[in-house]
């Protein structure tokens, strides 16, 4: 009858000390690298160690690459921070892509329409306000519908993305330079009107500082403020929130306005800070990647620095191997997918443990 004992059973862990959790994550990453190596050798015949070296070089190879890494990290982190308060509230905002785009569009509109007409400082203030308001409106519309008529926010915010993309496509044609080019090109290239100031000789430093400030703000807003507490209560149980007199609809709208405004700032940083132009792909899917960053970090703003770093690092490395080894960019995505699979999977082993059969344990 002994062989009827299950080989192992799954039990919930009591609580793991932080170093235990990180050890499990480290093991997951190592295992992921091993699997990636096997896949690489099997599919391409390349030496996996060389591939890893190239990934590393792609991310950190030169000072310029490090700056690009940090810039990408800052933008992804900014968008992730933006969606986080909504997620804490269990409001599944997957419309960050559109909110960033519309924020960028508002910035570009200010630069094109008012560039050279108002002093530069006034223009930049206008851009900041316009991008925040545009993002907030884009997020506020689904929020109001949710609060008033309980519409599905996931579908609504998703649909708002397409509207934003088409609006940008429309205005790109309206403002195209030169006529018939189908794109705007660099806005105010000669005057640099509305370009966000550069700190010293570092093109991306301003963006990084702005996002660092937002990170700290968001951490304290969520974990210490009264608003943050209300968001958590609404997310956990709307009935409890009503019971203690929290106005649920108002919290939903307020939180989404904040969420949208920060997305708008991401758009501002992209258009006014680095790109100085606008296209329909300026957000580049980061509105969706941000969802993963936020979830992986369990909605903790500081942990999000690491998770967004991880994703940006893998992405930069993937581009590098695609050029260096003449491999398709898709191959880099395969490796990214394998690594993410292991990291997300490791969360299971952080919450649960496998208890093996006693005898098996002795043998092992």
């Amino acid at each position: 009858m002994h062989n009827k004992t299950p080989l192992f059973h799954i039990a919930k862990r009591k609580e793991l000390p932080w170093y235990g959790a990180w050890a499990i994550r480290a093991i997951a990453v190592l295992l992921a690298l091993v699997v990636c190596a096997i896949v690489t050798t099997a599919l391409t015949g390349e030496n996996p160690v060389e591939i890893y070296k190239t990934i590393w070089k792609g991310a950190f190879g030169t000072p310029r690459k490090i700056w690009i890494l940090c810039q990408n990290l800052a933008i992804l982190l900014c968008i992730s921070l933006a969606v986080t308060p909504a997620f804490r509230m269990r409001f599944w905002n997957i419309g960050a892509e559109g909110q960033v785009l519309i924020g960028g569009l508002a910035t570009a509109a200010c630069m094109i329409l008012f560039g050279d007409k108002v002093p530069n400082a006034v223009l930049i203030v206008m851009m900041i306000i316009a991008s925040c308001v545009a993002g907030a409106i884009w997020a506020g519309i689904p929020a109001i519908f949710k609060a008033k008529w309980n519409t599905n926010e996931t579908l609504f915010t998703l649909m708002m993305n397409y509207v934003a993309t088409q609006l940008v496509a429309f205005f790109v044609i309206v403002w195209e330079v030169p006529k018939g080019a189908g794109k705007i090109g660099i806005i105010n290239q000669s005057t640099e009107a509305g370009w966000l100031p550069q700190i010293g000789s570092y093109k991306y430093l301003l963006n990084i500082i702005v996002v660092a400030v937002i990170t700290i703000f968001m951490y304290f807003y969520l974990s210490r403020s009264k608003h943050g507490y209300e968001i958590a209560v609404v997310g956990e149980s709307e009935r409890t929130a009503r019971y203690v007199g929290i106005k649920v609809g108002r919290v939903i709208v307020r939180t989404m306005l904040l969420s949208g405004a920060i997305c708008g700032i991401a758009g501002l940083l992209l258009v006014g800070g680095t790109d100085h132009t606008i296209t329909t792909t300026i957000a580049g899917g980061r509105g969706f990647t941000a969802v993963m960053v936020s979830w992986l970090a369990k909605f903790n703003p500081f942990t999000m620095v690491f998770t967004s770093f991880l994703l940006v690092f893998l992405d930069r490395g993937a581009s590098e191997i695609s050029t260096n080894f003449g491999l398709n960019h898709a191959f880099g995505d395969i490796l990214t997918g394998i690594i993410l699979f292991f990291i997300i999977g490791s969360e299971f082993f952080i919450s649960y443990e496998l208890k093996f059969r006693k005898s098996a344990k002795k043998e092992g």
């Binding site: 299950p6 507490y229 203690v244």
Partner: protein, 512 residues
Amino acid sequence: MNQKSVAIEMRDIRKTFGSVVANDGVCLDIYRGEILALLGENGSGKTTLMNMLSGIYFPDSGEIRINGEKAMIGSPKDAFSYGIGMIHQHFKLVDVLTAAENIALGLKEPGRLDIDAVAKKIKEICDTYGFDVDPYQKIYNMSVSQKQTVEIVKVLYRGADILILDEPTAVLTPQETDKLFAVLRNMRDAGKAIVIITHQMHEVEDLSDRVAVLRHGQYVGQMMTCETNAQEMTNMMVGRSVTLNIDRPEPVDPKPRIEVKGLTVRDAEGIVKLDDVSFTANSGEILGIAGISGCGQKELLEAIAGLQGCDTGSISYVNDDGSRKELIGMDPMAISSLGVNLSFVPEDRLGMGLVGNMDLTANMMLRFFREGHSVFANRKNPRALAERVVEELEVNTPSVSTPVRRLSGGNVQKVLVGREIASAPTVLLTAYAVRGLDINSSYTIYELVNRQKKAGVAVLYVGEDLDVLLELCDRILVLCGGKVSGIIDGRTATKRQIGAMMTRLGGEDANA
């Protein structure tokens, strides 16, 4: 007694969750043709022990023998193969399917599914034991008691002859409970082994043949029901002698505090839940509210608390100086900004009164987080309050940073009541304050309510146990179908009188 054969023997069962020992060294025998009542305080490990029989948990050590053979129950499927079926507190049914479809769900029988054959077999089971189930009725159209019946038929259909019921009566009316007990007796007489977990002493005395007691996860002892009494069983559960009398001090300077006039409430579907309800609740007095479940008790309390829209009528709060404030149309925020200090212990503790995933401190904050002008929430005072509540009410918790959902039912309720009375309310509304609580915790709650009464609070106590209402309350308002059937003096009323008023407006008088 000799013809009884052992169905299950549990030996030295131990189960831990992390550092928490849920069961240790438990030995328990379950016999066929017998109803065993498993007793113990909240958190004493009854449900854990039974979950190991039904394959939900696997014991860390110990041995389970079924029909004399060593058994390994690794999954609910294994449990079924041994003929063990458990009816959980929370039903596991698919709402949009019919009873027959739910029962057939997950069964692997060769060939096509013949739902009519399933229905026929269900009918046979029903006829054998006296159930009343329509196999073709959808689950969402069923009452709680009907759903429970489907759960029981489901395990019988799968050939279970050892049935475990976890607090089956907590959701039933007295009439439905009687029906359930009749069926259980039939099953016992048919030679099935039945285990029932309950906190109601009179149910234990009424139904069971044998009683087994757990305390702090350990097996304390067993006895034949006919040879013991409620007092002895309670003492065994608690581990010391407790008095089973509820104190009822004289009302303290009663003055009208809440005046309800002609209150009519409809629910979202437009069904009248409260119909022209009028009464006065006095300060320093406990007003009991009795009625069959779903007769408007919930709506009445929620209307006063500002959580339920009202059609017509008025709810006025009367100050000590006689001035009045109208509460209708106000939300809880507006009521408290009027200076009315109203506390509410709702029926749904973890879904409404507390946030299960938050710790004790954060749950204390629910009522107090708005204090002060800072944008930051003060966590110090709630933390101090949480520590005070834990100490004064003897809440059993690892720390004030433990999520409340990890606490057992009685401790959850102590946290909720502790918070609600901490703000020194003038009105205290409680709904089913002792539901699911063991005797010891229940008496703690009665005492807390009495203390509030002595402090001059107007207490509205919605309860389901008529014996308790009669012992605790000064006056009892009986609701019947959303109407006030009558208000009677708690000191002179009888159980029969209230029972009659619950089912017919005005009780026997109206019947005459």
